[in-house]
């Protein structure tokens, strides 16, 4: 059913794209939908553009994995719209024509700004495209039974067709439909969570029996671990510092499994885990047996106690009761973490092990972002919150949507519609994430599938709809990003920087060819970055956007001494510095297969360094180049 729903949606949007494509005859139509979109439609399309795979899959997954820390993304992503509304919306509409570059260059007509802004648009769009394409692959694997890379290729191809047929016109309508569907059906999902209520033994409405994980008593005999219960043999033990955990490899009746070692004073217990073992000959074992359609990782995540009660009565609850119950200090939730290592026989082991967390700790920041950690860890948190706040108003694919409406007032009104729609959705993410956390639906190997798997625990129709929406989420956002990136290449670089004299038809053709090239690149990167958390990757894209673009926008609007060279230097500094800090950060080292503790940059979020630096560079270079400053006659000041 999910497959049918998906293909119906794809057929519909492709049909719409071809219809609108037949009516798109001008470059204004291709890049800005002719500037004729009504503000209310544009507002919902804003929501469709902005509520990407990161919002739907990534945030829900992160809340389901780390609790409140995931909700920080919701708070920061929404706060960014305040900057967009109060500072950027109307001036950007007044200054620009098709792209972010048009706006920042409106006062100067500078080749340097054109080149730097085009590069920045391209870099930010690609940084943002990677997590969307990763999300596409994540969805396709369980839904269509395809490998990750085929999902990425399929979504990439569909989006290239959408963009290449009608540009911003088709993109707007895909985003409008997706934005509306996402909000409506996320509400349905939250209602379903509340109707189901709490349970310490979630069985997905009777579909999947609840699995009780075993615990064994153990002791140390002459420095070696031994299981008290007969029949178990300890083969080896492993300590994994990165996960702050130790594991024992046990053998019983020929089956080998990994157990988490817990020490409480003199008492030692072993907790059952789930594991994926890849033997040196390539054979893959799941929980000690060969991988097969019937032997896969079990879905996990449940309440251990609700307000101290190990077996609470299951009944309908209100949204407030859900949050209050989860926040109680006597509520205990079993979450799952991951550790990877190589065992003594050379097999690559990935072990998923349980951690019980109290509600009061779960429902405040701290499990992912170490707000009680070292000063550097605290700065990492500040850096993330800063980048999320300042990044939204600097995202090129969001900025170009201001050119699809007829007036600055319409730009403002559409931003307000977007804030209402997006704010409502972000409130829903907390309920969806917590629902996934306690309903035994989590795939321990991939948190990104939390929302669709939660929907499947209710019924297959809801799963089909939510999965189709998740696909449309990827399609809508990727379409917007490819329009922005193709505009940077064709309009900003070829037309305005190189001065290629193109007629309207040639401009459209250049945009379509650029869309094809950017889409192909996005496919390659989406395959390369498989497995990374989508929200985390989007957070990095925000940091690049906030560092490269926002100082230029704000200083252009509010500082009269801003010069073209100052803007150019600021944009280049922002791009290079933020990307450099990201590439040498611990999380990227982990992605490259290197030891994260050896990363030269000790934090993951670059915003706190790169955003102020970009501002300082703009001010210093502008002050040094006052005499050389040239403004276009009659340009607004």
């Amino acid at each position: 059913m999910a497959i049918v729903a998906f293909f119906i949606f794809v057929a519909f949007v492709l049909g719409l794209s071809f219809y609108l494509g037949s009516r798109t005859k001008t470059s204004s139509g291709y890049y800005a939908a002719g500037g004729q979109i009504h503000w209310s439609v544009n507002g919902v399309a804003f929501a469709g553009d902005y509520l990407s795979a990161a919002s739907f899959l990534g945030i829900c997954g992160m809340i389901a994995t780390f609790g409140y820390d995931g909700f920080l993304y919701s708070i920061g992503f929404l706060a960014g719209w305040i900057v967009a509304l109060f500072v950027v919306a109307e001036p950007m509409k007044r200054l620009g024509k098709y792209t972010f570059t048009d706006a920042v260059d409106a006062k100067f007509n500078s080749r340097g700004i054109k080149l730097a802004a085009a590069i920045s648009t391209l870099v930010v769009s690609i940084c943002y495209l990677i997590p969307q394409m990763v999300g596409a692959g994540v969805l396709v694997e369980p839904l269509l039974g395809m490998a990750h890379h085929w999902g990425v290729i399929m979504v990439g191809a569909i989006v290239i067709i959408i963009v290449a047929t009608a540009g911003m016109a088709s993109t707007t309508w895909v985003q409008f439909i997706k934005g509306a569907m996402l909000i409506v059906f996320s509400t349905v999902l939250v209602v379903a969570i509340c109707v189901r209520g709490f349970s310490t033994k979630p069985d997905q409405g009777g579909q999947v029996p609840f699995h009780e994980y075993a615990t064994l008593e153990a002791r140390e005999v002459e420095g070696r671990l031994a299981v008290t219960e007969p029949g178990w043999e300890v083969v080896e033990t492993q300590e994994v510092r990165a996960a702050d955990a130790a594991f024992a490899k046990l053998s019983r009746e020929g089956r080998v499994t990994w157990w988490l070692i817990r020490r409480d004073g003199d008492r030692i217990t072993l907790d059952e885990t789930e594991s994926i073992i890849v033997l040196s000959n390539g054979t893959k074992l799941i929980n000690g047996a060969s991988e097969s359609p019937t032997n896969t990782l079990r879905q996990v995540g449940n309440l251990e106690r609700l307000r101290g009660d190990p077996d609470p009565a299951s009944h309908r609850i209100s949204p407030i009761e859900l949050l209050a119950g989860m926040s109680d200090k006597e509520t205990l939730v079993k979450r799952w973490s991951e550790a990877s290592f190589t065992d003594r026989e050379g097999a690559r082991a990935t072990v998923y092990f349980p951690t019980v967390t109290a509600g009061n700790v779960l429902m405040r920041p701290g499990l992912k972002f170490k707000v009680q950690g070292t000063p550097l860890e605290k700065l990492d948190f500040v850096s993330l919150m800063l980048a999320l706040f300042l990044g939204t108003a600097a995202l090129p694919h969001i900025l170009i949507r201001y050119y699809t409406v007829p007036s600055p007032a319409a730009a403002r009104k559409s931003t307000i519609v977007a804030i209402v729609a997006i704010g409502f959705f972000y409130i829903l993410t907390l309920f969806m994430g917590l629902g996934a956390m306690i309903n035994g639906v989590m795939n321990p190997a991939d948190g990104n599938m939390a929302a669709p798997l939660l929907a499947r625990s209710f019924n297959s129709l809801l799963f089909a709809i939510i999965s189709a929406i998740a696909f449309s989420t990827v399609l809508g956002t990727v379409s917007g990003l490819i329009v922005a990136a193709s505009g940077a290449v064709a309009h900003d670089f070829c037309d305005r920087f190189l001065g290629a004299r193109m007629d309207d038809r040639q401009k459209i053709r250049a945009g379509k060819l650029s869309a094809f090239a950017v889409g192909t690149l996005a496919i390659v990167l989406g395959i390369a970055f498989k497995g990374m958390n989508i929200s985390f990757l989007v957070g990095l894209a925000f940091a690049v956007a906030a560092s490269a673009n926002l100082p230029a926008i704000l200083m252009l609007l509010f500082w009269r001494k801003t010069t073209a060279r100052g803007i150019t230097a600021s944009i280049i500094t922002g791009v290079v510095l933020s990307l450099g800090l990201i590439f040498f950060s611990p999380d990227m080292y982990k992605q490259f297969g290197l030891d994260p503790t050896t990363a030269p940059i000790p934090f993951n979020n670059p915003g706190l360094v790169s955003i102020p630096t970009s501002f300082v560079v703009l001010v210093v270079v502008s002050l040094l180049t006052q005499k050389g400053s040239t403004r276009v006659a009659g340009a607004p000041t």
């Binding site: 409140y68 929404l78 007032a409």
Partner: protein, 97 residues
């Protein structure tokens, strides 16, 4: 389909007023947002405190930030529309009224 004709926007007498109001509202939101970040850094355990209906400060403040953004957006739009609707001769130089 609800669409308006595209048009070049002319001079906006209310532009300066809207820009000034926008900056003040932006700064107001910045203060409230910064308060959230500072509490998390300085007194993270305070976020556990139950403040209303069994909800802790983290949930109330976090959702409050989202709702506050919506409320400010409506106030801003109302003030802008009011100023845009005012006859231009009642606005001072640059719309400073």
């Amino acid at each position: 389909m609800l669409h308006e004709p595209a048009g070049q926007s002319g001079p906006d007498p209310a532009a300066a007023y809207k820009a000034r109001l926008g900056i003040w509202m932006f700064l107001l939101y910045c203060v409230v947002y910064a308060g959230f970040v500072v509490i998390n850094l300085a007194r993270p355990v305070l976020m556990e405190r139950i403040v209303v209906a069994g909800l802790n400060l983290a949930v109330v403040y976090g959702m409050g930030l989202i709702l506050f953004a919506v409320v400010l957006a409506f106030i801003y739009d109302w003030a802008c529309r009011r100023r845009e609707a005012a006859p231009s001769d009642t606005l001072g130089k640059g719309g400073r009224g």
